[in-house]
Symmetry: C2
Subunit: 289 residues, 2 copies
């Protein structure tokens, strides 16, 4: 029999995730565990609670009365736990850190994470700049202490946090004809994704034309979402309205990209070290170990 008095934070986190996603399988994917593990965790949790917390059906998972009551506690405990960890880790960390982030992450993933960092690290002066990887990397050590950059998978420089599939994307409401030169919406040169896209099309012998070229990711994606052109995105940061396309649609494969954190040479200050490990933990995929 398992411990009856102490619920692992893991179990609470799984429970909260299941309640949000209404599915063991989706929760398992979100938490980088297998479905069988999640199922076992729920059994353990229900055993400790002495109550059925989730009502399962092949369609969806719903909370029981007891589950609803418990969910509030579980959320509060997990939140308090995470806050405690942020705060205690921030203890004694002060100074200034200048972070540079490539544009797409600055919109999708980072705001929430940076806000959390700022909230707990009250003695740290945080300065964030966004731009294109190429420019940012050039200024590493000069203008920036830390650069979060995209690079070709396998590059391996910096601390690699995750790998993202690169994919063609078009509007999910319009069918794009693949006959004739493909209309493209791409970031202005020089840009890695632009180069990848054009190289891949050329190698595949497909015709193309640049219909839209901008230095704003938002504008490029909006253009694609409007149905006028094809573009290239990281699979993980695709905005709603875009449909991902691949080789099954007759388009050439694209190299995967990796997200890496680059630290300025020399001994980093306390603030830079703290932000670096904070970002690494928050962004790294798979499970923490």
């Amino acid at each position: 029999m398992t411990a009856l008095r102490n619920i692992d934070i893991d179990l609470l986190r799984s429970f909260v995730t299941i309640a949000e996603l209404r599915s063991f399988t989706r929760a398992a994917a979100a938490l980088s565990r297998t479905q069988s593990t999640i199922s076992t965790q729920v059994r353990r949790l229900e055993e400790i609670a002495g109550q059925t917390l989730l009502r399962r059906s092949p369609q969806e998972v719903l909370l029981t009365r007891a589950g609803e009551d418990f969910l509030g506690y579980a959320r509060r405990i997990v939140a308090l736990h995470d806050e405690a960890l942020d705060v205690v880790r921030a203890q004694g960390v002060s100074g200034r850190v200048r972070l540079a982030v490539m544009d797409d992450y600055a919109t999708i993933v980072l705001p929430e994470t940076l806000a959390r960092f700022a909230r707990s690290h009250t003695e740290v002066e945080l300065e964030v700049t966004t731009g294109f990887t190429r420019d940012l990397m050039n200024a590493l050590g000069e203008e920036f202490d830390l650069v979060l950059a995209t690079q070709r998978a396998g590059d391996g420089r910096g601390e690699v946090l995750r790998t993202e599939r690169t994919a063609w994307a078009a509007s999910d409401r319009h069918d794009l004809s693949l006959a004739g030169p493909l209309p493209l919406a791409l970031l202005k040169a020089p840009n890695m994704y632009r180069e990848w896209a054009l190289e891949a099309l050329n190698e595949a012998g497909l015709g193309w034309r640049i219909l839209f070229s901008s230095s704003s990711i938002g504008a490029v994606e909006a253009m694609a979402a409007a149905g006028a052109a094809l573009t290239v995105v990281k699979a993980g940061t695709a905005r709603p309205g875009l449909r991902l396309l691949g080789t099954e649609h007759g388009l050439p494969a694209l190299p995967a990209s990796e997200i890496a954190l680059h630290l300025a040479p020399g001994r980093p200050g306390a603030a830079a070290r703290a932000l670096s490990s904070f970002l690494a933990e928050a962004l790294r995929e798979g499970r923490e170990s």
Copy 2:
């Protein structure tokens, strides 16, 4: 390396206990673990926190700055966790339960526990009576659904929750002369401890006289604490002002006693079952498993 994102509630509980007792060794005893386990737990916790939380010295253990900040969170998380468990386990439990408790526990250990039960089990009508084990047991099934009783160790009836050493006790401020008939303060007959005391003295061939006899434990203990007489207590419930004495003082050994929970025959109601397992968990010594 251990998980960096999830702190086990166990670690938090140990940390809180150490902070309160200012000692790894005492915390280990209080939590039914070894000192080495506690030490390892603290190392794990500090590794996750990335900070030294406790400043150790052979004299006492003190909190660091980070430790103080963290202690508040740890307390809140543990409290929330325990409340969550109480509440979810109480879900759907209603009805009436009549509990009888022997007098000494009614003062020392139970009030807090019963208050916790009442707070979480809002739909349960709880009635508590105190008295002497003998009377209470006679009314089990009639007036009471549940009786918490003291019995001779090894008796084994009911669900045994813990064993307590029985000890002679006298004032810690006065030296009692052991020459001549020993002045005793005891509960009125019939009472188990009274019988044990007199039998033990008789067998040892020691003289005695009853100086004070009352049906109030409080009065008996007060009399002993005032230095006028010797009495007999459970080692675990001795009030301040009393000093425990044993065979090393020339007094005869006394039988140990066990605390047991007796359930009325027949199928117990939901309220009785809930209170029963609640008490068992709260009072049982050693670790929960």
